[in-house]
């Protein structure tokens, strides 16, 4: 049989023509090809809890620039949005993405762990859309995509390093998505050059199969890595020694070539504004994320590796002013986390540190979720924020955008309530038995013995202008009285006329985060050297000893009880704690808590017993909080209602100030007496 001859030249020519044709078709189809949307994730393998990012094969992850593929691989793309879900999109940088963190320990993961719920019964579900690299332009790209997934709220975590205009196009994700970025630049009139040479070329050749071969190969590899992700649950390579954030710093005042002082035009506020405008009806909470504040060399010049002090302080002022002027919801957490919780950079947090941030962000997210985006006909934005203390929900913003009409807030109602909620007898001699602690007054009085102890204390060197707090994460300055070291316009609305003396006397203590406050602190922990901050405490010192040594307070708030081990031991350890403070010469101020984590209110009873037996003042905060909706507690699941609402935080801060003022009113004459005996110092 004769085999027909064939011409190799024709074969090769046909192959070339076919190849060229396919490339032309591919290029012509352009964005509509959307190869990246073809994904095995959420179909054959589970979606990833964070956007794909990785530089090592051992992470079973890779960095790619195809936003379609990135989002298709994310769990947010798993089908439509469930009806019972209040969807929160969390965007930001590598600290949000979760460098060195497992998925459940990231900010979104820990917010989900709090089990928040909205008033309309939906479950709050946060999605981690953070992506490494610091750039608001990068965030804007991601935010735009995130809106396709119908978020009910956007939490935009940011920091100064993301703001410099000169660095916006440095992010590879921005450079590799020139079309999308140019469209945003044009749409919002952003102060960025759409013809900047750093943008990847997107000419005809780059749109062909050959031109996009690397991108297509990356999409394919991402699918293969999906199998390893599904098999191992690993999506990040965790080095054995990731290194530690720099403690000692260079004496460098420079910041991205910007001259002092920092101007609004130096920072990309227009991109931030564009993001909020893009979000439309979806509320956006801007959060200035925590930074590491160094105590090492040149810490008088720089806060950390990233920020000279002058630039960062001015940035905070500018951001707060922008938020106020434009009506943004804004939460400043810059110093909310202690230095020990930062890992390999001045922005990356440990799981515990991230948990603290999650609790604080949840405090802002929770009320918004409770208000419920559904059913609102107007943007449910938190009113212009203070420096760390957002004002009450319901207040209109100057920028206004159909905001809800102002109504007396729950906080204001609570404070306006007549006594005995707000104040009580200033005399402990008629104190009811501990079992009736619920009826004890909110504001206590001091026994003559304690007054004498106070006088002896300041005679022996205690600082009558200092008070300390021994407490857990709900006693950090951000949420407990810290606002009183800020400008008055940021204070919660209340009558401060009778509180001025205390405000002046204790200025500097309100905003100070002492060594006695830590996330998860309990009575036993306060007495244990394991819990002391090694950055400021001596070896073997417990947190309370350390705080007493460092600050020499005359009054010590003891805000403990939410975290406890054994109730009986709690009572015993509480007495030991009190004795330690008394031995120091200071006045211990016990307090009741709003939550009932133990189930039978036995912690508050134990506290009342200690106060009764030792004749100590007891600030009955529970009695005030019980007047608030839900007892002042978040509607939570996993945490059983242990977290205070934002209203309750404000009530507690003002009440704490009232207690302080009441005590100071008793002590001031003795302080003056000691001062005059010392020559008027």
């Amino acid at each position: 049989m004769n085999v027909p001859a064939f011409s190799p030249r024709k074969v090769i020519l046909k192959a070339l023509v076919l190849f060229a044709g396919m490339n032309l078709l591919f290029a012509a189809a352009g964005e509509s090809m959307a190869i990246g949307r073809l994904s095995t994730y959420n179909r054959l393998v589970p979606g990833r809890p964070r956007l794909p990012y990785g530089e090592r094969p051992a992470s079973y992850n890779l960095s790619l620039s195809d936003l379609d593929a990135m989002f298709a691989a994310h769990e947010i793309s798993a089908g439509g949005k469930p009806a019972g879900e209040f969807r929160v999109a969390v965007i930001g940088d590598s600290s949000v993405w979760g460098f060195l963190l497992d998925p459940q320990d990231t900010l979104a993961g820990q917010i989900n762990g709090l089990g928040l719920g909205s008033q309309d019964g939906r479950q709050v579900r946060a999605y981690n859309l953070g992506y490494p690299t610091l750039s608001l332009a990068k965030d804007l790209l991601i935010l735009e995509r995130a809106l396709e997934f119908e978020p009910d709220l956007i939490v935009w975590m940011t920091t100064l390093e993301a703001f410099p205009k000169s660095a916006q196009l440095d992010a590879p994700l921005v450079r590799q998505n020139p079309a999308a970025m140019r469209e945003l630049i044009e749409r919002f009139g952003l102060d960025l050059d759409p013809r900047d040479s750093s943008f990847a070329s997107d000419g005809f050749w780059e749109r062909t199969i050959a031109g996009r071969r690397r991108a297509l190969a990356d999409v394919f590899r991402l699918q293969l890595y999906g199998l390893m992700w599904a098999a191992t649950g690993i999506d990040q390579y965790l080095p054995a020694d990731p290194g530690q954030r720099a403690e000692d710093l260079e004496p460098d005042r420079g910041f991205h070539g910007v001259s002092e002082p920092l101007q609004e035009d130096d920072l990309a506020f227009d991109i931030l504004a564009a993001g909020i405008e893009l979000a439309g009806d979806v509320p956006v909470l801007i959060v200035n994320q925590p930074i590491f504040i160094s105590g090492g060399a040149n810490s008088d010049v720089r806060y950390n590796y990233y920020y000279p002090i002058w630039a960062y302080d001015q940035y905070r002022v500018l951001l707060a002013e922008q938020a106020e002027a434009r009506g943004w919801a804004y939460l400043d957490l810059w110093d909310a986390v202690s230095g020990g919780e930062f890992t390999n950079t001045a922005l990356h947090l440990s799981p515990a540190g991230t948990g603290e941030v999650a609790a604080l962000v949840a405090g802002a997210v929770g009320p918004l979720a409770q208000a419920g985006a559904a059913g609102l006909t107007a943007p449910a934005r938190i009113a212009p924020a203070s420096d760390g203390m957002p004002a009450e929900q319901g207040q209109t913003s100057a920028a206004g955008n159909g905001a809800l009409p102002a109504q007396p807030s729950i906080f204001q109602q609570a404070l306006a309530a007549p006594s005995p909620v707000k104040s009580g007898d200033l005399d402990n001699s008629s104190r009811l038995p501990p079992e009736q602690w619920r009826e004890w007054p909110v504001v206590p009085a001091l026994s003559p013995e304690l007054v004498a102890r106070f006088r002896d204390g300041i005679t022996n060197g205690l600082d009558p202008r200092a008070f300390s707090v021994i407490g857990d994460c709900q006693s950090v300055p951000l949420v407990f009285m810290g606002v009183f070291d800020q400008r008055p316009e940021f204070w919660p609305e209340a009558d401060y006329s009778d509180l001025q003396a205390a405000l002046s006397q204790f200025q500097g203590s309100f905003g100070r985060r002492g060594a006695g406050v830590a996330n998860g602190m309990g009575v036993a922990a306060a007495l244990s050297s394991w819990w002391a901050d090694p950055a400021q405490c001596s070896p073997g010192e417990s947190p309370v000893e350390c705080e007493l040594r460092l600050h020499r307070p005359a009054i010590v708030f003891i805000n403990l009880g939410t975290n406890f081990g054994d109730v009986k031991l709690h009572g015993e350890n509480l007495r030991r704690l009190v004795e330690a403070i008394l031995a120091h010469g200071a006045v211990p101020l016990l307090s009741t808590k709003a939550d009932n984590a133990e189930g039978d209110w036995s912690i508050n009873l134990a506290t009342a017993r200690a106060a009764y037996d030792l004749d100590l003042p007891l600030w009955n905060f529970w009695r005030l909080a019980s007047q608030l909706p839900g007892g002042g507690l978040l509607v939570t699941g996993d945490h059983g209602g242990n977290y205070l609402t934002r209203e309750a935080w404000n009530v507690r801060s003002v009440s704490g100030l009232e207690v302080l003022a009441a005590l100071w009113a008793q002590l001031e004459p003795y302080a003056a007496e000691v001062a005059s005996a010392d020559g008027g110092e």
Binding site: P8, I12, P57, F220, R221, L224, Y225, A231, T232
Partner: protein, 426 residues
């Protein structure tokens, strides 16, 4: 081997292949082979080793030629001429020394501890810190294959089976660039025939390009993709259950596509040069038994061991009146162990070789039983294909599980993985 280097090699091969066959082309090929040895030599942390290793390759090649192929009848058995006899004796001694040198080189490079010692010595000579010596410092391009080619020549020369070949042609054979790094292991006689009677014509060029493209797809698309999900020491500890099976399957196909891809590329490049290199793979995973598998996997290596180790050993043992079964058993055991150790002198490769030895033995016994019991049996139409399919599945999975020893350097980990695969989880 990278994609650009393959494409460049293909372009060069096409150009050389287009030259009219004859002395000029063969000289050009020889020169290209010498240059390729230097060009393809990987970098080394030991100073100047990138220069000395290719030089050593050339020196060994030239030395083996001088001992074996120089002259018209290099190993004439005519002892009536004392000079020829004396020369044969000297060349025999030299050949033995060269063989020992090649074997020593193999052992040193394949044994981690010895490789480190050698690295230390070389570092000392180069005035570099010996303490930094590591196993893979001495990256001698294609030494394993070169050594086997030269050993086969020394052996054939000693047996008087070697054709007379010029140094030029010998260099092309020993250092043939497409096969230098990863085989196949060709025979001098066959190769020299192709070299001097090239078969290149347009039809073969198309076939060559097809093999090349096939090799590129197997290596750079399939193998490199499967590498992402293949069994490795790292992921073996991270996965269990059904996912572990996926990793093992991926490894089995990855190693096949990787090796077969290299072979296709080598054969394709060879065809462009007018040389038809021997096949190294013949659908090994579709063979119904282990013996057939070893006749279809790395064919040239298996044939080499069969020709230059197994057959001589069994003949030797038979001459010493060993029972036939013992001679064959000893031959098979040692052959499979050596094949394992050829990949690396370590316990995991030894165990891999032993695994296959056991499998071959079982197959051998099974075949004997079946042959006797079912002699003359004429089964129904579907039975034979069913048996064949069952055989293919069983063989494939036996080989698949054997790859666990090959992939994981620690035998303990391999044992755990095998246990995990078979349901015994810790």
């Amino acid at each position: 081997m990278t994609l650009p280097s393959v494409l460049l090699a293909a372009a060069l091969a096409s150009l050389i292949g287009a030259l009219p066959p004859g002395n000029f082309r063969n000289r050009f090929l020889a020169l290209s082979s010498v240059l390729a040895v230097y060009w393809l030599q990987p970098s080394s942390p030991i100073r100047t080793l990138e220069l000395w290793l290719p030089a050593a390759t050339l020196a060994l090649t030239a030395a083996v030629w001088a001992v074996t192929c120089k002259g018209q009848h290099p190993l004439s058995r005519d002892d009536s001429q004392p000079d020829l006899a004396a020369g044969r004796s000297r060349r025999s001694l030299a050949g033995g020394l060269l063989a020992a040198l090649l074997l020593a080189g193999l052992v040193i490079l394949k044994t981690p501890d010895l490789a480190v010692i050698a690295s230390r010595a070389l570092r000392t000579l180069a005035n570099q810190p010996a303490a930094l010596a590591e196993t893979f410092d001495i990256r001698w391009l294609g030494f394993s294959y070169l050594a086997f080619r030269l050993l086969h020549i020394l052996r054939d020369a000693a047996s008087g089976r070697l054709p007379a070949v010029s140094l030029r042609d010998f260099v092309v054979y020993a250092l043939f660039p497409p096969a230098l790094a990863a085989g196949p292991i060709d025979r001098l006689g066959r190769f020299a025939g192709d070299l001097n009677e090239p078969h290149a014509h347009p039809v073969k060029r198309v076939e060559a390009l097809s093999r090349l493209v096939s090799g590129l797809v197997k290596k750079f698309v399939l193998a490199d993709s499967l590498a992402l999900i293949s069994l490795s020491p790292a992921n073996a500890a991270q996965v269990d259950g059904p996912w572990l099976w996926l990793l093992v399957y991926a490894y089995a196909f990855r190693i096949f596509f990787d090796f077969a891809g290299y072979t296709d590329i080598a054969i394709g490049l060879g065809m462009l040069l007018g040389i038809r290199l021997p096949e190294n793979f013949n659908r090994p995973y579709l063979k119904p038994n282990l013996t057939a598998f070893w006749n279809a996997w790395h064919i040239t290596l298996a044939e080499w061991f069969r020709s230059y180790f197994f057959n001589p050993l069994t003949r030797l043992l038979r001459r010493r009146n060993s029972p036939a079964w013992l001679a064959i058993l000893a031959g098979q055991v040692s052959t499979m162990v050596l094949i394992g150790l050829w990949h690396g002198v370590s316990w995991n490769y030894l165990l891999w070789g032993a695994w296959h030895r056991v499998g071959l033995f079982v197959h051998n016994r099974w075949s004997s039983v079946v042959r006797v019991r079912y002699d003359g049996w004429q089964p129904a139409g579907w039975v034979k294909p069913a048996f064949h399919a069952a055989g293919v599945l069983a063989t494939f999975h036996f080989v698949l599980l054997g790859w666990v020893w090959f992939a994981l350097p620690e035998p303990v980990q391999s044992g755990l993985v095998l246990g995990n695969l078979l349901g015994a989880r810790p």
